[in-house]
């Protein structure tokens, strides 16, 4: 099969009155990729996903998903994609299997394939032994897995995951990542993921687009993005840092100071750490690490992505609490 594009956007734009939610987005995503949209809350990730899944009409521009235009052929787009929403969207009064059965009906899975497909996707997410339990009794992680299975039920070519591990504990998050990696291997789907967890984007994605205020500020492989920062990161806690003297050192690429916290980007940090400590003054705490996507975000926007920042209104939070038990 010739290499085709899973997603291609052309000047994709969404405006709400004066607010530009997404501005002039031009990206191409290859088939078989895990592509990440990384950015803080409100950056326009979910809006982008909604336009690609034809739930929202673009204000300007268009996009093709699996070869179908989102404006002129929305029904074809919908049939060819699977989507897992940010908040729980399975019916908690129904059993896991009933949820999948409903989805199979709505997405036109042929009658003679239904049972077999449902068994298959339940196996993928290890939920066969809980399939006849009511979803209310599922944990947050199980519910996510069920929704992953549901997204794959009708054999989509592209799977959209909107913040797939939001609100899950770190251990469950690890599990979900492992499931997602498996799915990509076994089901041969393109996966497009939105997240504001750096670690998630770093771990899962082949390529990441960093989005801020509705615009792509950087797009590349996670490793390439990290190398744009140019070095390692040293974080120091110093009461009276001698910033001026640090500025004379040519291996220090950037200096940010917030109160007593100094953040340096340094070439070959381990080699120069001793010298830096000697110059900067008495340090209470020192942290040396390789650059993360968070540093990349900071590099491009001058701000950090705050993890776990509260999002959404009361209903989203209720839904999340409800799904936790």
């Amino acid at each position: 099969m010739a290499l085709t594009l899973a997603v291609e956007t052309e000047h994709l734009t969404k405006r709400y009155g004066e607010l530009n939610a997404v501005t002039d987005l031009n990206v191409t995503i290859d088939e078989g990729e895990i592509f990440g949209l990384l950015g803080p809350n409100g950056a326009g990730k979910t809006t982008t996903l909604s336009m690609l899944s034809t739930l929202l009409k673009p204000t300007e521009g268009t996009a093709r998903v699996n070869g179908y235009d989102v404006i002129s052929r929305p029904a074809d787009v919908r049939r060819s994609i699977g989507i897992v929403f940010q908040d729980p969207s399975s019916d908690d009064i129904l059993t896991g299997r009933e949820n999948l059965y409903l989805h199979a009906l709505m997405f036109g899975v042929p009658k003679n394939e239904r049972d077999q497909r449902i068994d298959h996707v339940l196996g993928l997410v290890d939920l066969r032994d809980r399939q006849d339990d009511i979803v209310k009794k599922y944990s947050g992680g199980m519910r996510r897995r069920l929704e992953l299975a549901r997204g794959l039920l009708h054999n989509p070519r592209t799977l959209f995951l909107d913040e797939p591990t939001l609100g899950l504990d770190p251990q469950t998050r690890e599990h979900i990542w492992a499931y997602i990696e498996n799915l990509v291997d076994s089901e041969k789907v393109t996966v497009i993921i939105t997240t504001h967890y750096m670690e998630e984007a770093d771990r899962l994605c082949n390529r990441v687009a960093i989005i801020d205020h509705g615009k792509v500020v950087a797009l590349d492989k996670p490793s390439a993005l990290k190398s744009t920062v140019g070095g390692d990161v040293i974080r120091l806690s110093v009461r009276a840092p001698r910033i001026d003297q640090l500025k004379t050192l040519d291996y220090i690429l950037s200096i940010d100071q917030t109160g007593s916290t100094v953040r340096l980007t340094v070439k070959d940090a381990s080699k120069h750490l001793q010298e830096i400590l000697g110059i900067v003054g008495e340090a209470d705490a020192v942290e040396v690490r390789t650059a993360t996507l968070n540093d990349v975000f900071l590099h491009y926007t001058g701000r950090e992505i705050r993890e776990e920042s509260g999002e959404g209104g009361i209903f989203e939070r209720i839904a999340r609490v409800r799904s936790a038990h």
């Binding site: 739930l55 929403f85 969207s89 019916d91 129904l94 709505m106 209903f315 839904a319």
Partner: protein
């Protein structure tokens, strides 16, 4: 084919929910029963209307009330579905909005109809004799009323962003529709100000039709009631389909 299966899926879901949430059914029948037993029984010990005991007289009214409340609430409930992303799963399916609306509407109407049937059973205890024809006509009235009111609920629900407005709708729409319908009094010699509202209330015609069918006393011919009610339902279904078409 695909649309038909989608319609069936939405309908199947409502029936599953209905059979699983037994406490909801019991509680939705409890208030109407209080009306019949306490209000009807209490006032009925003193008065009779239209040649029947007051308790029997208000029975069609309370039957209508059961349908009214459960239908409108069923429709309004999609505000919640929208909030918790459940409805997005339905909206993103490759189904037309007309199908989604029809599935919801028929599912909810059957829901309300089943509750109406449960109420009809209590009518037997009050000594009302049903004929097969009367039961069949009652089902038609109840189903059309339910589809009109579920549509009304869905119209309001699809245009509402939060559940905060619920109480407002109950106070200014649902209760007036119940009180003005003549559920609790005969509409024969009403003062003009009441008559205007009663005539404007679509529930009046369902109730008058049901009272005529079950008890043999009505203000308008049963067939005319049916026509007026059906027109109201058609308008509601049309607006509902349109509302769903522009749902985000």
């Amino acid at each position: 084919m695909g649309e038909l299966e989608g319609f069936y899926a939405l309908w199947y879901r409502e029936i599953k929910v209905f059979t699983r949430e037994k406490s909801r059914i019991v509680s939705s029948l409890f208030t109407p029963l209080l009306w019949i037993v306490v209000f009807g029984g209490g006032l009925g010990s003193a008065i009779s209307l239209g040649g029947v005991n007051y308790q029997v007289f208000i029975f069609p009214g309370i039957l209508t009330m059961t349908i009214l409340f459960s239908s409108v609430f069923f429709g309004l409930y999609i505000v919640w579905d929208k909030k918790i992303d459940f409805f997005k799963e339905v909206l993103v399916a490759p189904l037309s909005r007309t199908t989604i609306f029809a599935g919801k509407m028929v599912g909810g109407s059957i829901d309300a109809l089943l509750q109406g049937c449960a109420m009809l059973l209590f009518g037997v205890l009050l000594g009302i004799n049903y004929t097969v024809v009367a039961l069949a006509i009652s089902f038609v009235f109840m189903f059309i009323l339910a589809s009109a009111l579920v549509s009304l609920g869905l119209i309001i629900g699809s245009n509402m962003e939060s559940v905060e407005g619920f109480q407002l709708i109950v106070s200014f729409l649902v209760f007036p529709m119940f009180f003005f319908s003549g559920a609790l009094f005969p509409i024969k010699n009403l003062p003009t100000y009441l008559l205007v509202f009663t005539a404007l209330d679509p529930v009046t015609y369902a109730l008058d039709g049901l009272r005529g069918t079950l008890l043999g006393t009505s203000q308008l011919p049963v067939a005319l009631n049916l026509v007026i009610l059906a027109c109201f339902a058609a308008v509601m279904v049309a607006i509902g389909t349109w509302s769903f078409g522009r749902l985000k």
